[in-house]
């Protein structure tokens, strides 16, 4: 029983580890597959063979699976949409074109409802976010073992780490959220000027108009506004990550049941189907939420706010 529990833990941990390529520091003790230890003389760029190695790499590492899948999926999105855009006709839209136009008009309507300023970048950005995040989330519906096992067979390394859902990696979601954050600050300063941006941080929400009271209010405002400003990208990124990570985790737990006998396996199959159906809603909703919140943040950045 103990080894079975060990197996389950190992299975789960294996599924939660990204394929990491990074720089191992000098003096790191590597364990190879034969259990021998050799100490690195120089720091070395290599694939991590265990989560300890991945942790030891620190910031100087790249999750190849996360980045690879997000680039493949993003490229697929751009490829399909730009091909349709190039071939699009004014006449009756058919097949793929009508689907693409459906998505585009849905995003366009949503953005027009939320964002009332002149910026031609926001709507394309919202479309990119919606489609890309949706496709990355969609990877969650592929049974958890298919692609990792296929990758292990192809490379011949059965311990290969391979996470196929980029949005279950906080690097991916926070990377996008921080980009949104950077764009927010960029547009804030562009629309309001640097002074306007600083004023927004210091003279809100408490403002008396008398200098000797404001002196005391400014620090309070600054703390409040800074916290709410920084909370935006963090919550944006972590919301998506949390939802998808939890969904992935449940798929992994269900997948554990497949190895536990026929009855439990069939029950697991039913559960997997039910959870996948429910998850279709989650992945769409999370993609939509990420898009809407990004648009809302952009609208806030553009809001020069005459009523102080």
């Amino acid at each position: 029983m103990a080894s079975e529990a060990q197996d389950s833990t190992g299975y789960i941990q294996h599924h939660l580890q990204n394929l990491t390529y990074g720089k191992l520091p000098a003096g790191f003790e590597r364990h190879d597959e034969h259990g021998q230890v050799h100490v690195l003389e120089h720091s070395e760029w290599t694939f991590a063979h265990s989560s300890e190695e991945a942790t030891a790499m620190g910031f100087n590492a790249i999750h190849v699976d996360t980045l690879g899948w997000s680039i493949v999926l993003g490229a697929l999105f751009i490829f399909i949409f730009s091909r349709v855009a190039a071939k699009a006709t004014i006449g009756k839209p058919t097949g793929l074109q009508s689907f693409v136009e459906l998505v585009v008009s849905f995003v366009n309507n949503t953005v027009e409802d939320i964002f009332h300023y002149k910026n031609r970048m926001i709507a394309p950005m919202a479309l990119t976010i919606f489609s890309w995040v949706f496709m990355m989330n969609l990877m969650d519906l592929i049974p958890v073992d298919w692609l990792p096992v296929a990758a292990a067979k192809v490379t011949g390394n059965e311990h290969l780490f391979f996470k196929v859902v980029p949005t279950t990696d906080p690097n991916a979601t926070l990377g996008m959220a921080l980009t949104v954050f950077a764009l927010m600050i960029f547009f804030s300063i562009k629309e309001k000027g640097l002074m306007g941006f600083i004023k927004e941080l210091t003279l809100h929400p408490f403002h008396s108009g008398k200098i000797y009271i404001d002196i005391f209010l400014i620090p309070i405002n600054l703390i409040l506004e800074t916290v709410s400003l920084i909370a935006k990208p963090i919550s944006l990124g972590l919301r998506l990550f949390g939802n998808l990570y939890a969904g992935e985790m449940i798929f992994i737990l269900i997948a554990l049941m497949f190895g536990a006998g026929l009855v439990l396996g069939i029950f697991g199959g039913v559960l997997q189907w039910a959870w996948a159906v429910f998850h279709i809603l989650v992945i769409t909703l999370q993609a939509f939420v990420f898009m809407v919140l990004t648009t809302v943040y952009m609208a806030m950045a553009h809001d020069t706010g005459e009523n102080h």
Binding site: P93, M125, M176
Partner: protein, 156 residues
Amino acid sequence: MNINLTLIGQSITFLIFIAFCWKYVWPALIKVMKDREDKIAAGLEAADRADKDLELAQKEAAKKLHEAKEQAASILDQANKRANQIVDEAKQQATAEAGRIKTAAEAEVEQMVNRAKEELRGKVAALAIAGAEKVLQANINEAANTELVNKLAAEL
């Protein structure tokens, strides 16, 4: 679960995809959709206009038809009047002609009667004289008798 360079990689990827979408995907699709909307709007407007045109044309046609009917009726009326007039005229002419022919015929008949009377008178005188001669068997002064007989004959 480690935060590492993937974060920055994902940011750059994100920005590149946004740029692509912004340049090559969004404007083309939006333009096509906008153009189609305009085309549909124009089509609907044209259909509306055609409907109105049709209605106008139908009204116009009905009006024309009505006018034509009226004209035809008036022409028919005039023709009838003219025909009546012609018939009347012809009747009058015929009556006049008939009168004229009758008068001429009457005159001729009178003439012929007169001539016959004249002839008869002459013959009656001679006959009377011959009769009287035979009756009397006498030689009578022909001149005096002739005068007498002529007087008799004039009395006829």
